[in-house]
Point group: D2
């Protein structure tokens, strides 16, 4: 029984991805992306997203996000995002490093979702400040968000409309994009470029890969010289096929979606079950695979004592109890969830 | 028969490394290097190098080199190196990017090996220029060099003595360190920190791994905050065990040395055999796994026509013929070499 | 009559400073700070601040602040400041640029003054995040603040004590330091290094100079290599005496203090007079030379119509009227103030 | 008598420039370049260069050069220049800092003038290296060169034709542009944009100003967002009129040309006179205001003993004697030159 709910990155790679890595281990293969698997990946992503794309596999989400933002923002630019977005709080300043000192312009949001009105106001303020303010350069949205919520297609469209009106390209941090997509129930295209998204960090590591994310440009013109950014950041593998094959397997037979569905279902069930646990108030809508809940301090401690792992979330203000985050994954079984709920009910 | 001599990065991962990757695929493992394999790696490298070390696995040589140099040089610093070092010519400006604009100060060298006297003169000139010149900050040596030669221990000691005298820490780009070590026939310690090397980029990708290099600090105090540099560059994997396990396997049972020996032997045999090929002059001492040779243009073209792959090396000035580079690897067999020589003799 | 209250940077240089510039125009003078005036400046600042100092004149406040912060924070660091500090909102990202991607960590404050408790909480949070968060690197305080308020010596001591406890050096943005000092009524030493300040951006441009600020390190060891940072930023003048002479004149005969006193007195009188103007609520304590006031929209427009210049301050939330900022300077006369008040009363 | 020949930056500001600074000292003037003098400057430069321009005054040559290059080169780019160009050797890495890690690609040249053929070869090599090499991004030429020579209009045209063919914009470091222009005897337009130059660092500090250089874009479209680069580098003065007025005076009544003519004439006379000094071989054509000469070591030392100041130039290889640099300026009189020659003849 798996009692680790700290993150979806504590998972193993799933069987299909491991098989692909083993299968990719041939010799005499052209290096630096000149291989066949990498070529097939771009074609496959184009098929999945129903449009021409430029695709750049990298090993980490931080690399994907920071490289993408550096491509969108000049060094004297600002990137609008939720003030506690992963790019702002968990990447040790990577966006500013990759983008030569560009800054993140954080906007507050109780549920992790910023609004079109906020964005419009912020851009207008920037323009009124002229040369003293960084240039409004891009919008970055996390989907699913840091609070396990999901932007609806309408919310996305409203935000990207403001961005487009001011000439700002739009980045989506999709470390958990598959989880959001399953929730939205629409096509990948409808969830991204048809809603105004220009570049997607498509995550796989949290949802079944060893180490694979893809920077996907829906407008190849936006990707000009991106390959040099990747190279000089040390993110171009000589044996790139070992990244590409993971992403190919990930997209094969809808593996990404079935994995994400498993994770989301577990989270939904977890949240539902917590309704029966005295004092364990769920703090946010559970749209994807994260549950934020505020059990009494004693219950949290007792669960930890019982061998469950999860993070306390001190920055989340709660009136009573202690905020904790429970993350499910493709590897979370119904039994894992029942095990947690059973113990929680018992200890409550 | 393998007819690809373009680079040692066109190789597959070797069996022991692949087995280790598969074995590392457990779940519930702490992320970001909190796992047991990563802990074992540091202990293992300490054992191999007979000293306390701080070890940071990354996926590419460019990342290892650029992160190491950024740690050694302030943004207003200069790093002395061979003017056509890999860091200067093949990494798309990565050192300057990672080190915030620091510059590489290239010194000429016919065989890829700079000298202590050159270094001393250059540092003195810098001091005479004062604040107008970047601050002499570090020395970077490639071992084995870009020309397939190897610094002797005495040459290393002379260079690092000058560096130490001026307070410059020393980095070694060891993308092919195992090849050099086998050539030197000394211990890893004698080839590095006992000769004044402070930080080593220890390569494995070219010698049997999928994607693994390690930044090895022989003085852990020099590594202060290095983990943040790695994180913000997107080079900290959440599932770091998949990198660590490769390096563990690489160092197990002297795999790295037997692999390198295979590659070196093939190169030596290749160079020897070329002596019998009319007009194919070997241009540099073959100390490791690279052979630079200047066959007549027609012979080079005929070999390519026959299915052999190798790079032309136009920057290498030759009076007659065309300079080409032949790289052998752990996967190059005696038969591969004989095949090449047989064809070369036939076509010459 | 001067009706321009937009900023203290619309002023001329005062007579003593202009005289010094003209007097400095000799030939055959050593360049790049090797001149006598620059040497005298360092000695004079040491005298004024009663301690050993390292002093670096530059032409703008943005240069002084960004260079100082780059000296204090590594590129993977974070600098705590008020969320709407000048360095965060008015310098087009200069701190991130100079510090290689370091980020500003903004804390909210209704009156522009952050508190020791806020700082302690923020640093603790950073430590709990480990390598994913930028390293807490420095504290930057604006004195006088962006809202025309002034930190008391006790407030400064409390803040710098928290910083010191966590090993963070402290920067003070003193674009209006003289205005704050006059308000505090203590010695320069008591307002800075005796209260835990390590580096001061000492402004002169807003208070009587053409273009002169000084970066003052109270611990010369902290200034190591700072001269190279200044040089590579293009802020080392070849004829540096033309900057040094301005600062010498500024500190001569307490010119800086008498100029600041004039500005502060004008602001205080302006605020007092506004009490008699119907509906013109003063929004912040007037500790220095800035008055934030919220007249009815019509009154603001009528004053502009009458030839007065000032900035609207839309980010300042007011329940009624419109927030505007009135800035006085050393060149603001009692008549200028009376003129404004007379018109305001008339138009109200 | 002025015996200081170290540099043209040890000069005072000339009378007309000082008068302009004094005259600019009005109050109530709009800040940050909103003033009338700055507007007039742009119009005046357009008139002088007979084309539409965007003009940005800054205080130092390093700022002008590094800002211009950052505008032309992406952070993953390379700028071709003479390997010992001022930007490469005397600005403490400023171009790499401002351009986010971009690198200078130095080409050798015995007289400081690189050739079109060299440039073409270097660009072709870069293209053959693909993503591993920085992207060829710009060409930077120093005019007059670091060796006191001057590119002819034909040489410029050949170089910029290669650059244009490969899409590289061209920067001219004109710290001594007026000296070159006087030598060429053509119009400012013919020496710049009509010969393919896109951006000029127009120097004034060495030729009569206190501290003033102008970045001149001959294609305003190339200057997009340049104002934000200047601001975030701390090079936008609040009282910008004090820079603009210097440049206006500099261009008034051909002051820049008459000053440069004075300097050049002195250098020419110096070189001619040295023909009569035993053993003092002039090393380079004297096209502008610098004389490189190799007197016997004893003569050099005796001249220093006699109170003359000049720099030894150790990087200049001479077979006999010691290389020294003598720089004349607008303030060098015929008497100063005769004084030097008389002593030299006497001591030789």
């Amino acid at each position: 029984m798996n009692r680790n709910f700290t993150s979806d990155n504590v998972t193993p790679a799933c069987a299909a991805v491991m098989a692909a890595v083993n299968a990719a281990n041939a010799g005499g293969v052209p290096s630096y992306g000149g291989d066949e698997l990498t070529a097939r990946l771009e074609a496959r992503v184009a098929e999945v997203f129903e449009t021409t794309v430029s695709v750049y596999p990298v090993a980490t989400g931080t690399a994907a996000n920071a490289l993408a933002l550096a491509q969108l923002s000049p060094p004297y630019g600002g990137v609008y995002c939720y003030e506690a977005a992963h790019i702002a709080t968990d990447e040790c300043g990577a966006p500013g490093f990759f983008a030569g000192g560009a800054v993140l312009l954080g906007l507050p949001a109780a549920d992790g979702k910023i609004t079109a009105a906020q964005l419009a106001t912020a851009i207008e303020h920037a323009h009124s400040m002229g040369v003293h303010h960084v240039k409004p350069a891009a919008l970055s949205l996390t989907q699913a968000t840091e609070w396990g919520t999901v932007y609806s297609c309408a919310e996305l469209a409203a935000l990207t409309a403001v961005a487009e009106q001011h000439g700002l390209p739009v980045h989506m941090d999709g470390a958990r994009f598959a989880n959001a997509l399953v929730r939205l129930g629409c096509s990948p295209a409808e969830a991204t470029w048809k809603r105004g998204v220009d570049v997607l960090s498509l995550g796989a590591t949290k949802n079944g890969a060893l180490c694979a994310e893809a920077v996907v440009f829906f407008d190849p013109a936006l990707a000009e010289n991106f390959e040099r950014r990747r190279k000089r950041a040390g993110h171009l593998w000589s044996k790139l096929r070992f990244l590409s094959c993971q992403l190919l397997a990930y997209l094969e037979d809808d593996l990404w979606l079935s994995n994400a569905r498993q994770a989301n279902t577990a989270a939904t069930r977890l949240a539902e079950g917590l309704a029966d646990v005295a004092g364990a108030r769920v703090l946010q809508p559970v749209d994807a695979n994260e549950v934020f809940v505020a059990p009494p301090e004693k219950l949290a401690a007792d669960l930890e004592e019982a061998g469950f792992h999860f993070y306390r979330w001190p920055l989340c203000p709660v009136e009573e109890g202690v905020a904790v985050r429970l993350v499910t994954s493709y590897a979370t079984t119904a039994e894992d969830v029942e095990d947690f709920l059973r113990e929680a009910r018992k200890l409550a």
